[in-house]
Symmetry: C5
Subunit: 308 residues, 5 copies
Amino acid sequence: MLLKKNIPWTYILGKIKWEITAVALYAIAFGLWHEDLNLHHITIPLSIPAIIGTIISLLLAFRSNQAYDRWWEARIIWGAIVNDSRTLIRQLQAFINDPEFSVDVSRITENFTKRQMFWNYSLGQMLRGQDPLKNADQYLSREDLKFVRNHMHVPNALLMLHNRDLKYMLEEGLLNPFQQVEIDRTITRLCDAMGKCERIKNTVFPTTYSLYINFALYLFIVLLPFGLTEHLGSILVLLVILISASFLLVEKMAIHLQDPFENKATDTPMTTLARNIEKDLREMIRDYEYVKANANQTKVVKDNFYML
Amino acid sequence: MLLKKNIPWTYILGKIKWEITAVALYAIAFGLWHEDLNLHHITIPLSIPAIIGTIISLLLAFRSNQAYDRWWEARIIWGAIVNDSRTLIRQLQAFINDPEFSVDVSRITENFTKRQMFWNYSLGQMLRGQDPLKNADQYLSREDLKFVRNHMHVPNALLMLHNRDLKYMLEEGLLNPFQQVEIDRTITRLCDAMGKCERIKNTVFPTTYSLYINFALYLFIVLLPFGLTEHLGSILVLLVILISASFLLVEKMAIHLQDPFENKATDTPMTTLARNIEKDLREMIRDYEYVKANANQTKVVKDNFYML
Amino acid sequence: MLLKKNIPWTYILGKIKWEITAVALYAIAFGLWHEDLNLHHITIPLSIPAIIGTIISLLLAFRSNQAYDRWWEARIIWGAIVNDSRTLIRQLQAFINDPEFSVDVSRITENFTKRQMFWNYSLGQMLRGQDPLKNADQYLSREDLKFVRNHMHVPNALLMLHNRDLKYMLEEGLLNPFQQVEIDRTITRLCDAMGKCERIKNTVFPTTYSLYINFALYLFIVLLPFGLTEHLGSILVLLVILISASFLLVEKMAIHLQDPFENKATDTPMTTLARNIEKDLREMIRDYEYVKANANQTKVVKDNFYML
Amino acid sequence: MLLKKNIPWTYILGKIKWEITAVALYAIAFGLWHEDLNLHHITIPLSIPAIIGTIISLLLAFRSNQAYDRWWEARIIWGAIVNDSRTLIRQLQAFINDPEFSVDVSRITENFTKRQMFWNYSLGQMLRGQDPLKNADQYLSREDLKFVRNHMHVPNALLMLHNRDLKYMLEEGLLNPFQQVEIDRTITRLCDAMGKCERIKNTVFPTTYSLYINFALYLFIVLLPFGLTEHLGSILVLLVILISASFLLVEKMAIHLQDPFENKATDTPMTTLARNIEKDLREMIRDYEYVKANANQTKVVKDNFYML
Amino acid sequence: MLLKKNIPWTYILGKIKWEITAVALYAIAFGLWHEDLNLHHITIPLSIPAIIGTIISLLLAFRSNQAYDRWWEARIIWGAIVNDSRTLIRQLQAFINDPEFSVDVSRITENFTKRQMFWNYSLGQMLRGQDPLKNADQYLSREDLKFVRNHMHVPNALLMLHNRDLKYMLEEGLLNPFQQVEIDRTITRLCDAMGKCERIKNTVFPTTYSLYINFALYLFIVLLPFGLTEHLGSILVLLVILISASFLLVEKMAIHLQDPFENKATDTPMTTLARNIEKDLREMIRDYEYVKANANQTKVVKDNFYML
């Protein structure tokens, strides 16, 4: 749903265009001048590039796995945020003791729910390094907004406000002590999810691995033509480019997957997920009109936005 | 139990028939015309396809593992749904305080249990993109059905109804506060399982990996005949086809495993699992007749339906 | 403790005797007639079988890992059953409020403990497709036995009886509400373990993988002699058999590990584990005589029964 | 901290001395007599040992990973035991309601803490197949010791005594019902850790894998000299020994890691860990003298004892 | 955020300078004297180093994965510490029953929060083998400091003080019993995180693996020139150095990752994390001035300090 199926080849090749250009220039230069430079006498048996190819494969397999794990963990965390947002509101509605359907309680519930909707947007913005208070006035009460503006860590401040409401509900007898503790646990899970996102965001994948891969890869590319001098003529250039491209593409893929919260076209679709959560929560507080009005909107978004 | 043991070869080869046809045509064309086109002089040492083969193996190993993990995770989630459905009803029966075996309580329990049975069917339908309200009238009370029709996310609405019943039971003194919270936790686990299924469903496996595998694979296939010109004559065609098929089959397998909730013959057997849950739950509310009447039915289904 | 250390070679070779016979016949036939059939002119460079060998290795590594994971998960689940059985009885004894050491309470505790002992045997029998009520009369009260006979899913019915007892204890004031909920959690974990076993039992490992492995493997075996014609004479036959055996044995191993609940000599030692749980639980309810009388018995069993 | 950094080479080579001797004898015999035995005419291309080398690598990678996982899981379990021992005593002190600092309560707490210290030693002894009651009189009260002597499963009996004390504390009003249940959960985690150790101890790693590795390994060793006859003379012997040693050492490593509770110099340092837990717990009950007196002792132990 | 993107090549090569020097000397010596020493006649086919290269790849892949897992687990643990620190203070504020905003309660909360801030610094110091009481007087009350000085395990003593405060709050009616138990659970998770760090710190990665890798690696390096004598002249030296460097760098990387708590430039950024936690917690107790004053400080630190 979140990815375009047909990725143009130009997009993919675009990712490695500088590397491929450099490889091509080297291969062409080798083809043109290796006789003049007396490189002709140097033949390296193909076993040598093959051994280096084995090392590169090992490094790329390792890299791909770790990068995929980061990407997949980011998705798992946001999946948990979806679940816990639903659970939070479901618990609130199921626990709150309001036999008279008072206006006051209904207002509290709505404020709480909207705050949770906003929490998701705000977390997404913060992780992408953008303004975490964007559109805050559409979701937060004036009082809450004033509190939050004092905080650098907006999503954390929102969770504090959740807890403030729970405390009020306990004092007013709207929740019993077990229910307060149980809803607090859901908030704790949201707090954990928030911290996990920050961990992935703030832990750079060991950069030395990239360097080692590049070191081994360019060693491989430099040696490859020396192993092919006897056999091929001008086709050598094409072969070197294509084989290099195979390796380079795998590395680029890993680089894209490993940072799932950078503000790129390929990251975790946090805005879409936050929008879906908003729809689910609005449905739960019976704001059916909003949901129906926005049913098509997502469809449009998904066709243009994400690409991996 | 859920898979036919004897899969016809035609079925398997059917999956890669277009690819194999293309490979065969290329190999035949190469065999017929490579002398005329002066390709005869171009010999590529077999080490080159071997190096590319190593890259492909790395990519396919990665792909197979991730695809299998998605497939297996889908099974784990549905296994958890089975367990939590049983636990939910077991807890309801064990906790409910009804010394007089009143008709009212018995009706509530039955409604609750049937709603849980339906939840499983409904979740399966939703994940396959089909009508989540199919057969809803057989399981839900008129009142519940009316509520659910207003919702786009049917399974989530059903969980809300579960909680509404719990709230009623607490108010009526049928449950004590700890028991309400404890049953709510089981519902939260069901909510988590639901969200996990949606995550797998909505997260497409990075499509660029498929492209890179295909890129490396067809590069391998194109180069392979050039490495065999000296040694073989007409057997070259057969060899190229068979080796290509080995690689292509592994990739197809991964593609089938990676989307466990698409409406294909090979996906997670959600309908069968929902039917088994229904049998277990009916047995728990002592509807023994239903269980015995349906004991054989599953047997029939399993022989025709799933194939992997 | 559960495996014989010295497995006879004949046992191992017995597992692949048909495959090896077929390979041997093919290799001998090739050796005898390849000159007559003019196959002599066809030489395949050994790089080709080597490339296929790489594919096979990839598939076998994947297969071995997944099969081992299933086998090990089965052991983890049964380990959890051991732990939760002990915890269940420990909690029961620690929580029950019986200052007068009444006969009635002592009878309930004993019944409860024996039912848990039987639950383990019954689950093992059910998973192996055997009678889950075998020896039930030695462990269950007449009343319980009557209830269970109405159920197709015996272990689940036993858990329901556990909960029925807890309900009774709560009503009688033998447990307080927290204690009831806490013991129910232990029962929920047992319910989860039961469902996990059923998941492994009922999810066949994707059979297409076996087919692909066999496809690649026999392709490898068929091509191997063509790569050796120049170098060897009659030793070719021996080499082909030994190398094929290396691959075939790894696959057989995976097949044996992947179904840990089939009724084979090599599956999870559920009966032994259930017997050990019985000893631990009897010790906990101070039936020391039983434990001492049965201390040696297990020793005997372990020497004859399990072999992997 | 727990391992000597400098392991003498003789220690390592000692592990494979018999295998290496056999390989050396074979290689020498081959070098001396292969001409006399007309083995000279048999040359096996090096691709054949290379293919077998790939199989062996696959098997050894699988083996190493699984063995390491067992070893690491054993450390994780004992790490959890350290944590839960501290938590148990911290909870006891924080929960117990004793405003008058009575002598009776102080005695109970001390007994409880000492019992937990002993539990760790006892579990370690049991897992190594040694006397689980060694030094019991230094830690257990006379009454407890009498109870425990009746039990074959000593650590489990100690947990029962923990629960007996909790029951007493609840009855005396020293703990409230939530606190009893909460401490019981910590005991349940200790019970789980105990069962996990027993699972690793009692589940032999599938022995057939060792056999298959040895089968492939000796096939490789036997074939290797036939691939080297042309190229080398007497250096062949050295090469065969060194390459064989590379493979054999990896397998030995796996064998040592896979059984982390056997009574070997290289197993999990359970005694040291139990001693560290004792120090932490004594510090928690303000037995500062003990801790300071024993601070250096561990240092001495660690230099001599563990080696991996 | 925590790593410099541009690592100078000199830094990386510095890590393997002794190994590379030794390799270079060997290669040069081989190049100069192999004719004089009659090593000229000894040619080893390149398949032999290639087989050893496969073993090394297997060992390095295993090593890299395990080392990365340790490094990543360390980050996960510290991520959990961040989350649980926030949760602890959020719970304290949300649970504490103080309608009159008394000075006494406010002082307790502040002391508690500062103690938690210090706990993080103290744990980091302890893991690095440095003074765990550094700057203690800035965070702890005089009374607390006196208590802690008696303890060798400072972070554990701090958790005991947390629990002492909870006990006081329960006695004073500031917390209800559920809330006490719930906050204790958060403290238990902190205790677990602390123990997990100690486990990683105290469990040395099996040193024999390093030895085996070095054994295989130097065997590979020694044999490599014998496989290249025919083909290359003086370029042999360069090739041997570059290929050796590829392998050696991967191993060095693993060595750096495997010990995430040693006091090196590349370890887990515990001080930075503790500082971030301090900012979050101060914001939670409305010490906004501190946060704003220190906003830039971290920025400066991050540019100079961590490098991987």
